[in-house]
Amino acid sequence: MPDTITLPPAPLDEAEIATAITEANAARMPVWVCGNESKAASMRPVQAGRTVSTRNLTGITLYSPTELILSARAGTPVAEIEAVLAARGQHMIAEPPDFAALFATSAPATIGGTVAANLSGPRRVAWGATRDHVMGLRAVNGTGEVLRAGGRVLKNVTGLDLCKLLTGSHGTLGVITEVTLKVLPAPERRATLVIPGLDPVRGVAALSAALGSPYGVSAAAYLPAEAAAQVPALSWIGQSATLMRLEDFASSVLYRSGRLRADLASFGLAEILDEGATRAAWASVRDATPLAAAPEQAIWRVSVRPSAGPAIAAACAALGAAWFMDWGGGLIWIAGPATEAAHAAIRRAATEARGTWMLFRAPDALRLAVDIIPPEPPTLARISARVQAAFDPNGILNPGRLRAAPRTDR
């Protein structure tokens, strides 16, 4: 059955957004800041009297392939940007995921939302996160002021870097209205080396060897047998899959896959996936589909130093949770029971590994009951509250999205 939800009217441009925020600020009314709400099921739910969506701010406003620069209004679907880039042989460097399936939504993810959540895919391990490629943005702060940060050039250290601060701030510091990204030529060819049957420790050792090789490995993931079975391009393996991707000119991919395979021979004989299978397998890893998470399950993302990945995996296995590792072992995707006990165990394992963690998807009851991201140490929390107030003195932008409002110590 088609979606027939009627959405409330949304501002048509940045000026209307500024007006809406100015009014909400005057009324001290909390605002749910969003795009297409495709990630509404992520982070903590926001209790707000009013919604300000950027979904009508669409369109690519600048694309200069030779300058490796693209600007788009916040509500532009990521898929549209990818298509425009692909037509000129270029791509988004951080390979942003498509979590439509994970969040059970048909709403297309917007570029504003992707930047506001700093979402990055498998290429992050080698080429940096979305935050590394945001060269500029425009935003409306919590008093309705329009701000520009960065610019439309590739190198810019003028003033404090508000692009970095707003990227990943989940709409709590400002409403992002337009972003400017660095883009790069897409590779001519892709291939993937697969070593079947390694245990997690050996698998991550192989990934580290590959990422520490001179061959420019652009992605590195470890899927246990159950996760590999969820990926059609890998289902023939029937055991764990240690995956390493090469992206380059065709002749280089051929040469480098041969060299890498020889260098990794002590880990086992690598099979080589062709272009089509490589694209399919990494799209699955990117979108976390190997988790095969049931709707009632919670999903966590843990980021640690890669060599600590297997210990997190072991903690997940003890919980009976499904998991796989991306970013060379450094990113552990987990799906398990949506309970406080499971959350506490995962949080403990990530903290012991000196890493970071995020309850990425959960029923409202759980995400309202627990910290969904690590609390900041007291000194930093004080600075953090002051920085937030510097953008949004009345705390109207997505209150509670990242952390529950502090009780009285604010």
């Binding site: 200069s64 030779t66 300058e67 490796l68 620069i69 990055s120 992050r124 391990v125 940096g128 996160a129 935050r131 590394d132 702060n141 002021e145 520009r148 940060a149 610019g151 050039v153 590739l154 190198k155 810019n156 250290v157 003028t158 003033g159 404090l160 870097d161 692009c163 970095k164 601060l165 990227t167 990943g168 510091l173 897409a186 001519e188 990422l211 520490g212 090789s213 001179p214 420019g216 280089s252 040469y255 980021s303 130093r305 060599s307 450094g330 000196r354 890493g355 970071t356 995020m358 991201i373 690590p374 140490p377 000194t379 930093l380 600075i383 002051r386 107030a389 510097a390 953008f391 990242l402």
Partner: protein, 479 residues
Amino acid sequence: MITQHAPKAAVMARRDSILAGLRRLLPQTGVIGDTLRLKPYETDGLAAYRQPPLAVVLPETTEQVAAVMAFCSREGVRVIPRGAGTSLSGGALPMQDAVVLGLMRMNRILDIDYADRCAVVQAGVTNIGITNAVSAEGFFYAPDPSSQLACMIGGNVMMNSGGAHCLKYGVTANNLLGLKVVTVEGEIIEIGGAHCDSAGYDWLGLITGSEGQLVIVTEVTVRILRSPEGQRAMLAAFDGVEIAGECVDAIISSGIIPVALEFMDKPCIHACEAFARAGYPLDAEAMLIIEVEGSIVEQDELLGRIKEICRRFRPISLKVSESAEESLAIWKGRKGAFGAVGRISPDYLCMDGTIPTSQLPFVLRRISEMSAACGLGVANVFHAGDGNLHPLIMFDANDPESFHKAETFGADILKLCVEVGGCLTGEHGVGVEKRDLMHVQFTETELDQQRRIKSAFDPMWLMNPSKVFPLKLPAMAAE
């Protein structure tokens, strides 16, 4: 000449007791108050400006830094963080009532982890020191500012330094995982770690490039990368700057991102050739240095493709290096460009604006017109792939009129950069040098937003004063 905030009379009057207080916190040799020994700290890489500080402290541990900050914060004393003092924007210029906090004694490499591809180093380790420590295992630290032999990683973090190879590898901000920092009140905070993308606000990204306005950085966790199998440079010379710019566009349009893509104009080619004898073509109007990486076969293939593209633009000279020695020679002129210009002019100012690369021909033409109008020579060398210009304005510092003209010329170039869609500084930072031009790029609303963030970290505005923000009374605390 640049203006600074007025020194705090109350602090100046308490100089002796402040020195005594600092001496209680640090080893004997860690506090400098003697006029003669303060002299080396009175300036940095922007030597036109000089101002001896009240005192210099040289802590050896993060805890000592914290003790100094707590003390200065209590006493209302301004603090100027300093690494090697190589800033080209006056980022470490002292004030007479301020304590310079030098991080050069914190020069230890604390941990190297090849499996996880990261290293933990103290702020006073030199940029090249990191690469030297990991090169035996075939690794390197990517950002490579021209001053890399001297400049320190703490300073690189504060200025978000770039280099010739950032078209491929990014700038400092793209090569960091974690920081240990000390707040103005003297509290120690760890930001990030050895993992990617901490949840919550991107403090790592905000602090990087903050020019000492927010915190003191004492330890840095950097990403280290495996070196490529090899690299090789080529040189292409053209009889016009426009056609050289078109060639750059054509290379990038072909899908090749060279690891470095450097551009020099005629005056710069001449200065560098006289200095380095690199075999640069003296009849060229513009020259590109293009470097690629990979195995020998891959290098041959990439350089072959690039050569073919260059031929479409009727180069007057095209030379592919046949060996590591020839590549070094090609780079020698470029790496020595600043020194080479120093030989043909008593002094020079190095500008650092970035422009959209499509504006290159127009901007270079305008710069040459401005040069003729003010009577000062200019040599242009820059990172062509990312549009980061380095016009070197030649002047005589002993002639106040010449210095004034040079400053005005420099400011006009930076205004032009902003006008065509670029920015004031690509990698050197605002410092004192470009502080009063911030209005050209930002609205007052935008500057106030940045000031409020500064106030959130540093409510009394004690950190690196008189830099970055045009002088005006700060909206003090954010709360």
